[in-house]
Amino acid sequence: MDAVKSKFGFEINQGRHIDMDRIDTRLADEISAHVRSWKACLNCGSCSATCPGGVGLRSLLLKLSTLGELTTLDTCLLCGKCFLVCPRGISTRYLIIQIIKKRREYGKAV
């Protein structure tokens, strides 16, 4: 029998830090193998700035590459303006298509 655990009226907070040793970046690695130019992203934010669909592409791609997490992409118009303004010429449209395809493969309902 385990002893009655006393309660103290608060929860231990989880740290907000990103532990890079334990993050699974396979989704991002596979995608960047397809769209190699993604790795050259400077996080300058021109894509998010020009996006008529209001998709925060910069932070979305950063979260994907850093945490392996993916937020939704369903307001993207695939108009390609982000590709036009990207100073590194990253094929953003193709990246978006690959992300959604890979996400379906992984089956994660994100």
Partner: protein, 349 residues
């Protein structure tokens, strides 16, 4: 050339000390300060005077944003005035938080003479005492560091595992207010202070350097005062404990009563929360202050110096060093009758 912090040594007075106590140490580890005075007087033959009129430094109130700075400054000016009146110049501060506060205030006085003059007026108006400043201001762990070899000479026990003969693996945790606010006021600067490690090495122990060595123990005032926030305080302690776990430490030694309290108490809380423990083979890690450790080394009776008030039972440590103790007397009063055991259902004693 710039002096490397590591090599920085500070100037510590030799004798004639004026001692100011710590609220937390008195309350949570009542035997410690009496022990410190006893060691200085009877073991090291130094004069150490404790003025009955001296008060708290109001640090907890100030750092929690309740007590205004000028009030704290006046209280501390009163302490110095008391010291002056009794003819002492060298002050020993028992609490590291106070030590940080005293240093901060002296530095502010140095930067702003008008403020200093104003506080002198407040002191005069409130208490009629004359403003003064200490010639040498140190923390109690500095003293023990200074006389660590004299203590080692009189030591009855070494920080060595009695069975295996190997030095005990000791984690030294330095209170943030000791060396982080004013690195030049800590022995060895902010990153690798030697005030505790020096003692432990000279008493035969071995120091563990673990990644979260410099992380806060969790005693952030604003984090623990309000109950819902205590989760933050606890998460810091856990980060430290988890980081030191691979090294299987036998002991944690601290110089600030706050760190001592939290690293000690929170081990129990974490154990209750999710059953994890951080010492060797599933046990908890005893947490002692530098005074208490010096007392053990010098052969004081564990229960005499109040080690039974620690949350993590110290018996594991005493057995390792081979210090005899009477389990029955753990919860007996001066005249020997039992005053009742705390109902702690600990799995990993």
């Amino acid at each position: 050339m710039k002096v490397y912090w590591k090599d920085y040594q500070k100037e510590i007075a030799d004798d004639d000390f004026f001692y100011v106590r710590s609220c937390i140490r008195q309350n949570f580890f009542p035997g410690a300060e009496g022990l410190f005075i006893d060691i200085l007087r009877n073991k090291l033959g130094r004069t150490i005077y404790e003025d009955a009129d001296h008060t708290t430094c109001t640090g907890i109130g100030y750092y929690s944003g309740i007590v205004p700075l000028e009030t704290t400054m006046t209280v501390i000016a009163r302490q110095f005035a008391l010291m002056k009146e009794k003819g002492y110049k060298n002050i020993i501060i028992s609490c590291v938080t106070s030590f940080g506060l005293y240093s901060e205030i002296i530095d502010l006085w140095k930067q702003d003479p008008d403020l200093k003059a104003k506080i002198a007026d407040y002191l005069k108006a409130a208490t009629g005492r004359i403003f003064a400043e200490p010639a040498n201001m140190v923390h109690s762990s500095d003293i023990l560091y200074k006389f660590r070899n004299e203590i080692a000479a009189q030591a009855k026990y070494r920080l060595v595992n009695a069975e295996t003969g190997e030095p005990l693996r000791v984690v030294d945790h330095i209170g943030c207010h000791y060396g982080k606010i004013f690195p030049e006021r800590g022995v060895g600067g902010a990153e690798f202070p030697q005030v505790l490690s020096g003692m432990v090495k000279s008493w035969g122990g071995e120091i563990i350097d673990y990644p979260e060595r410099r992380h806060c123990c969790g005693f952030g005032f604003r984090q623990y005062i309000v109950q819902p926030n205590r989760g933050y305080s606890l998460s810091h302690s856990r980060i430290k404990l988890e980081s030191m776990k691979p090294y299987e430490p036998d002991l944690i030694v601290t110089n600030c009563p706050g760190c001592n309290m939290f690293l000690d108490r929170w081990q129990y809380t974490i154990e209750q929360e999710d059953g994890s423990s951080y010492g060797a083979n599933g046990r908890m890690i005893p947490v002692l202050s530098s005074e208490e450790l010096a007392g053990l080394v010098l052969g004081y009776d564990p229960w005499e110096i109040g080690l039974q008030t620690h949350q993590v039972p110290v018996e594991t440590l005493l057995d390792k060093i081979g210090i005899p103790y009477d389990p029955g007397m753990k919860y007996a009063d001066k005249s020997g009758n039992q005053i009742g055991k705390p109902n702690m259902n600990l799995q990993c004693v």
